[in-house]
């Protein structure tokens, strides 16, 4: 059991940033993102009986948990009250000095992007999933995943060009 806990600790350090990015995009509120991530990880821990789980399973669980949370009326009201502040203050990307401007532009563009394109983009680019895994995670056909990804890229290309002009 101790070995499993150690495996999880290193797994967490490696994957938490990308999982948190997806959770942030699914919930749009920092506190909810952290809660949903925690719940999903505990569920995956139980399902995998302590072994480190496959990433597509964690993303799918995260998404389902976020949908459940959004259906809860009282949490939704609370979230709507905090979302404006969070969206302005929490940057989703690593704003290290050398990439601060690019991170800021991308951050704004991703937050403006329609959700159905954004979730595919996040899973494909930063989640490291294949189109087949993205399709399975989001429960959509693979061709739909690919076309949403292409539209997402076009959106980013246009938006970042506008931002820089």
């Amino acid at each position: 059991m101790e070995t499993k806990v150690r495996d999880w600790q290193s797994w967490l350090r490696e994957h938490t940033p990308r999982l948190l990015l997806f959770a942030r995009a699914q919930t749009r509120c920092e506190a909810d993102a952290e809660d949903v991530l925690q719940d999903a990880l505990v569920e995956c821990w139980r399902r995998s009986k302590g072994a480190t789980p496959e990433l597509p399973l964690v993303y799918a669980t995260l998404r389902r948990r976020a949908i459940d949370l959004a259906r809860s009326t009282d949490r939704r009201v609370a979230r709507e009250e905090t979302v404006v502040a969070d969206i302005e203050t929490v940057c989703w990307f690593d704003a290290a000095l050398t990439k601060a401007e690019a991170a800021s532009i991308l951050d704004r563009a991703m937050k403006k992007m329609p959700e159905k394109f954004r979730e595919v983009m996040l899973l494909k680019i930063w989640g490291g999933l294949t189109f087949a895994q993205v399709a399975e995670t989001l429960d959509i056909p693979m061709n739909t995943a690919a076309s949403r990804y292409r539209y997402g890229l076009e959106f980013l290309r246009k938006d970042t060009e506008l931002s820089q002009s």
């Binding site: 967490l12 690593d94 680019i125 739909t144």
Partner: protein, 166 residues
């Protein structure tokens, strides 16, 4: 990492170069603590008698209600006193004398099939992805046939059927 199509290689490369913001140490500590606690809780088995009671109570309750309906038709059964046939009393009676149930019937009903489009395997072989929705029902009965329990479980099956693309 994989042979996935790239639609805008330059932009995709630039995007991959930007990493997600690091999770702060407070969140990592919180997650590690929660998972450690979960691990500790999972490794401590519940007392066997408690688990047995948790399982038996709902099953025995359901069995008792069904048995009462099947065995005691209103016109022949003596009028029960209010205290004799409360659910709690029936559960207590069954706990003292367990019912030996055996599986007698398993049925699978197909509720529907959904074509979900074309997917391809890593070696580029295309497949039709079909999702089948099923309902499995299981019937258990005791030797006398007086007690019967039936439960249904919804289930999904995913099939990949080789496809030819022209």
């Amino acid at each position: 990492m994989n042979k996935e199509p790239e639609f805008d290689p330059e932009l995709e490369r630039d995007l991959r170069a930007l990493k997600p913001a690091a999770a702060d140490s407070r969140l990592l500590e919180r997650l590690e603590e929660v998972l450690s606690k979960t691990a500790a809780a999972e490794s401590t088995p519940a007392p066997p008698t408690e688990a047995w009671r948790q399982w038996l109570a709902p099953v025995a309750g359901a069995a008792a209600m069904i048995a009462a309906l099947l065995v005691l038709p209103p016109e022949r059964a003596p009028e029960p006193t209010p205290s004799a046939f409360t659910p709690a009393a029936l559960v207590e009676a069954l706990e003292e004398e367990p019912v030996d149930l055996k599986p007698v019937q398993v049925q699978n009903h197909v509720l529907g099939a959904l074509e979900e489009g074309i997917v391809s395997t890593p070696n580029d072989q295309p497949f039709h992805k079909v999702r089948l929705r099923l309902l499995d029902s299981f019937t258990w009965e005791d030797d006398s046939g007086a007690t019967r329990i039936k439960y249904t479980v919804p289930r999904e099956e995913h099939f990949l059927i080789p496809a030819t693309i022209y």
